[in-house]
Amino acid sequence: MTQLLAFLLCFTGFTGFALAKSSHYKAVFAVRIDTKLSRRILIMSWVCLLASAVVSMWHQFGYGSVLFCGYMAISVMCLALVLSYQPAKLRSLIYVLPTSLIITSILMLI
């Protein structure tokens, strides 16, 4: 469960990075992004990414750091594929990602 949470955080972070770019934001939402929102998304993404690194390395530092690199790779790959073929699909993630993050963290804490 911990690792799932780490992956989800990492994926959320990279989704944020992608959406903070005007070209990708436009492809997903069909409107321009303003700089304020972009800045906010960027900060949130960095927080998520950092949290993901901490969560994945919490128990075993060495093994966790390799896993974290893997998570980053898979997140970028999925995002690049979705963005180039079906950018609109990314819109649903706005709700799916936070929900699944909350569910996973609750499951982890119990």
Binding site: K21, Y63, C69, A73, L81, S84
Partner: protein, 528 residues
Amino acid sequence: MKDSFFRSMTWLHTWTGLLVCWLLFLIFFAGTLSFFRHEITLWSQPAIHDVAPQENRVLSQQSQITSALQHLEANAADAETWWVGLPSERTRAIEVSYQDKGKEGKRGQWHDQFMDPNTEETLNEYRDSKGGLFFYRLHFNLHYMDRTVARWLVSLASLFMLIGLISGIVIHKRIFKDMFQFRKGKGVRTWLDAHNLSSVLALPFHIMITYTGLVTLIFMLFPYPAMTQYEEGRKAFFADLNPARQHADITGNQVEMLPMKQLVDQFYTNWPNIDVKRVIVDHPSDETAQLKFYANTGTKVQDEMPVWIYNTVTGELVMTANTELSVSETLYDGMIALHTGRLALPGLRWLFFMCGIAGCVMIGSGAVMWAKRIRERMKVGKTASFGLRLVEGLNLATIMGLPVATAAFFFANRLLPDSFTGRAEAEIHLFFLGWLGVALMALYKAGTAQWRQLAQFNAVLWLLLPLCNAFTTQGNLVSYIVKQQWVLAGFDILCLITAAVFYIQSRKLANKDAANPAISRTLKGQVV
């Protein structure tokens, strides 16, 4: 000044890359497959397909080791070495091997056999095949070649790869900005995006695997610190670093060893909870004989296994090693552990595999892009230069040829009769024959038509592989899933996915041909 720096880096990136890309592709391809080395070996040994995994793996090791050693004592009393590999998370059967005594300076022949971990009886069928070990060796020893020369070549290629990575980061200033960009159907641009995407998404992996790969061969590349620090040279350094690796030469004086059961029991009284990976007896019945227990390092970032060495005559513990590593040792050994990836559980293993494929795509797309750029700039009606045709030929030969060769290797494993002499070597010859066939065709002509035909050929080959497996062994994809044999099922599914990817590729190439017959060379080479 800054401008000229970028220009020199671009130049360096292009030419170091182009010079070694085909060798690098081979190394990455074989290396990526060797992440699943034990799984490939399992597939290539149908005799152990139905060995049931154990519930209490670690608990049953004591009796397994005893049986295996007793079996060796009864059947190979005159051997140079006994070698017992215990089942682990990735291997199922007990591997029982022994090596004949060396003659006239040559190393003795190894004899391998499997033992059922549950019944502790030897299995009769052992298929003479290298399995995953072939790909593992191929990725640093190459083949048909002196080992040392091959390793220097591989090291040079890896160094160029590292240089290519560093210069690549420098020249592509916006590398992290256009991280998610993949513009499809735009010719060279698409290839550039594929190249960037595959390199940036696994950049930490690429740098790590190249650097640590060089570190695995470091004592061949840079023996000088060891030579200057130790007057007697490298050997003295190794003796100091790893005393457990040293052992005396056979003297020929026979002695009576203690019963194997007693020795094994003694180890287990002192260390009852160790997950043992391997047990080795050096020079059985010789006065220099010693018994070594190697512990599984599990998911620790450590490659050297902790070892306990016993004297087989007196039964005393001679030495333990590698249980505690110093900081420098941790750094060095950790790098090796990261490269070999032995620590990886299935999840991480698949991530490693995926990153390896990303590396193949990066190298392949870079090579293809170079050829496409040159051809785009060429004036209409001008014939291609020899260099361009050579690069195009080699691209086709490597990118499409290696999957053909790999399929040939797997088919050979299933179709060659067990009684065939020199079977393991014949499989390897077929691998290279398959590759040679494609290479000859590619060097003769490397247009879209050839790419399409080879894609179709690959699709058929990889589709037939699971079928061939179903006809020549007891199991098939359905039975694997029913019996939950996930390794074998995974192998078949991966074959089918590979076939599907090649089929899609051939369709895309056909569409492009039909849509724009003027462009005679549009290439799409995704390699799985």
